[in-house]
């Protein structure tokens, strides 16, 4: 990591960060963790494209920008509550505007038995001790710069626990809303989620905005599934067109636990999504499904890494990428089967569609196997719409744009077929269609 003699505007903008009063400030261990992470971030700077994990995503332009450290008006922005409604999602809701919890927009009354759901800002002021382990973590990898920054500055987020054996039938919705502030803002959100032994949780994560803005958001999310737990996680990313979003998720799966993740990435100018999953207990199972649909000059980089490290674990990943106009998509899917993880069954399938000669998609499936008796398959393709199919549809009367949209949605369909919430599935199709140019 090189450090410029004149600090980048991005780093210079953090000069006063050490004196920032954040929720929980004043607790020695938390202050120390925040300070050390901030120092590490400033010393390391933003990763450049020499770091393997950032090979296809240049941050030079971001480094030249300066972001405000907080939005004093975050609790005052007027947000139309209707925009928060997702069809088929009617459970408890936690809403953050520019990274700050908004009680007035949230729905936390009458939580089902076994569900504990609180904003991090509250937990930090009341009793942060149970989060000490999670929040004291140090991120050492060069590519983890944003996780460091997040650890240094996050003051809010979701703290969610499902008690052992509890089944939360209505999915919990967590919303991250961007709103224009005084200049460009950087907000940082930290989620700590635990699904207890034998418990069941549905989680819908929704990124949206009310009026266009150019903020930077970082989100670090740790999810732990205890033995026999199950999780349905849906992520709809429809952030503001010119915003930057860096999401760093980790998922820990205990024995016989099951997690299914469905991702639809539509918004943002620069979006980076890292997901690290560890199949830690025997017979754990992970299904990931994802689609990005890009237009304009959007740049979306998805980095999926799945580590099998117990007996008879399974993972199946199906991802689709669509890039139109001058957009660029990046997908890296890495599967590691650790030594001794016999009986692993892992597959990764990534197909991409270029809708324009100026669009670009880079895909990199990786497979590392250190165990015997493993079933593993991976494949990636990049192609264009089938001209014959396009003509067939047009010859039946569908205008060119409609024919392209029909074929593009069909291309993405395999990803959402397994989404159990049918209403939400239809909404995904519509959102996807609406995003096509």
């Amino acid at each position: 990591m090189s450090q410029s003699p004149v600090p980048l505007p991005f780093i210079d903008g953090l000069r006063d960060a050490a004196n920032l009063r954040l929720p929980g400030s004043g607790r020695a261990w938390l202050d120390t963790a925040r300070r050390e992470n901030l120092e590490a971030f400033v010393a390391g700077g933003l990763p450049d494209t020499r770091a393997e994990a950032w090979k296809y995503t240049a941050l030079r332009a971001l480094g030249q920008r300066r972001f405000a450290l907080g939005d004093p008006a975050a609790t005052a922005h007027s947000i139309d509550p209707h925009t928060l409604i997702l069809p088929g999602v009617e459970g408890p809701r936690l809403v953050f505007v520019n990274g700050v919890f908004r009680a007035d927009l949230s729905r936390l009354e009458a939580l089902p038995a076994g569900l504990s759901l609180q904003p991090l800002s509250q937990v930090l002021e009341q009793d942060p001790e149970p989060l000490r382990f999670a929040l004291s973590r140090h991120y050492r990898e060069a590519g983890d710069a944003f996780a460091r920054l997040n650890a240094a500055l996050a003051g809010d987020g979701v703290v969610l626990r499902v008690a052992a054996g509890a089944r939360i039938n209505k999915p919990v919705q967590i919303c991250f809303v961007g709103a224009p502030a005084q200049g460009d803002l950087a907000w940082h959100v930290r989620n700590v989620i635990e699904v207890g032994e034998g418990a069941k949780l549905g989680l819908v994560e929704h990124h949206l905005y009310n009026t266009p803005h150019k903020h930077l958001g970082t989100l670090v999310s740790d999810i732990v599934l205890q033995n026999d737990a199950s999780l349905q996680h849906v992520l709809l990313q429809n952030a503001a067109e010119e915003s930057t979003l860096i999401r760093h998720g980790s998922l820990h799966l205990g024995a016989r636990s099951q997690a299914a993740l469905h991702v639809l990435e539509l918004g943002g100018a620069l979006v980076r999504h890292d997901l690290h999953a560890e199949l830690h207990g025997d017979e754990a199972r992970l299904d990931t499904r994802g689609v990005f649909v890009l237009r304009g000059r959007q740049h979306v980089d998805t980095q999926l890494s799945i580590r099998h490290q117990a007996l008879n674990t399974a993972s199946e990943s199906i991802w689709r990428g669509v890039a139109d106009e001058r957009s660029r998509g990046v997908f890296r899917g890495a599967i590691v089967v650790a030594e001794g993880a016999d009986g692993t069954d892992a597959s990764l399938n990534n197909k991409n569609l270029l809708l324009s000669a100026l669009a670009e998609i880079d895909t990199k499936p990786e497979l590392e196997i250190y165990a015997d008796e493993v079933k593993a398959a991976h494949g990636a393709t990049i192609g264009q719409l089938d001209e014959r199919a396009l003509f067939y549809l047009r010859s039946r009367g569908l205008p060119q744009a409609e024919a392209r949209a029909l074929l593009t949605t069909a291309f993405c369909r395999a990803v959402f077929a397994s989404l159990p919430n049918e209403t939400l599935r239809d909404h995904f199709s519509e959102a996807l269609l609406a995003h096509l140019p």
């Binding site: 003509f391 067939y392 549809l393 010859s395």
Partner: protein, 254 residues
């Protein structure tokens, strides 16, 4: 309805149609026969507007409009339909959904109201009865995993729902056994009407045993070299295409 004059067309730099003349009136069934490479499929593709077919001379007037100036979807909305020789498989697109989208797209272009799903379902049920095909095909993805016969029947079924004015069948008989051929022909015959014309493009005479043409044209080297009634097809069947190869273009029928 359709008037083709002196049509010249080129594919990949090679001249295929070299001065084709043909007039089709409502209600008529015209068979276009000819040896391989004569330009039969090119004719269907040029008329439906496929990319890669360059018209170098001549004109095609359909219902008073310059057909060659229209996009494929505009030709469809104007009433031109091509039953493909090789119908395309489209995974992930449901057959019913596709057909309703196509019909409504055509209706929209013509300034007609779109059909809601109930109205469309009613229409589909009527057409299924006429075509005698099972509604199981409707629930599958367009042509995906269909047998050869199912694909061709699906083409005719689409034709029944879209109700074109000019229906072109491109080698619809190819790859069909006799039972499938009969079913397809039955479907076509059910759609014959005084307002609808057919252009049946075929290499073999056997399809014409079941779809009786009013006119038979022989296409050779990019031109119609002989025109007649259905007995011409029988003559071709007996004598092969060799005897027409050397002939001059037939006189234009008006």
């Amino acid at each position: 309805m359709l008037k083709i004059e002196n049509l010249h067309a080129r594919v990949e730099g090679k001249d295929i149609l070299k001065g084709l003349n043909l007039t089709v009136n409502p209600g008529e069934v015209h068979a276009i026969m000819g040896p391989n490479g004569a330009g039969k499929s090119t004719l269907g593709n040029v008329l439906s507007g496929r990319d890669g077919y360059e018209v170098t001379a001549g004109s095609v007037i359909f219902e008073g409009r310059d057909l060659l100036a229209l996009e494929p979807e505009e030709r469809a909305a104007a009433g031109v339909f091509l039953a493909f020789q090789y119908p395309v498989e489209i995974p992930g697109v449901n057959n019913t959904y596709f057909l309703r989208a196509a019909l409504n797209a055509q209706r929209k272009q013509r300034g007609e109201s779109e059909l809601d799903s109930m109205q469309f379902l009613k229409l589909v049920r009527e057409k299924l009865k006429i075509m005698q095909i099972s509604d199981e095909l409707l629930h599958r993805a367009v042509n995906e995993g269909f047998s050869g016969g199912e694909k061709k029947r699906n083409e005719i079924f689409q034709m029944a729902v879209l109700e074109p004015k000019l229906a072109m069948l491109d080698e619809t008989d190819s790859g069909l056994d006799i039972d499938a051929l009969k079913q397809v022909a039955q479907g076509v015959n059910a759609l014959r009407s005084p307002d609808r014309a057919f252009l049946v493009i075929t290499h073999y005479q056997r399809l014409l045993d079941y779809i009786e043409p009013d006119f038979v044209h022989v296409l050779a080297d990019g031109r119609i070299v002989e025109s007649g009634d259905k007995t011409l097809a029988l003559k071709l069947e007996e004598q092969g295409y060799a005897w027409v190869a050397e002939r001059d273009p037939a006189e234009e029928r008006t």
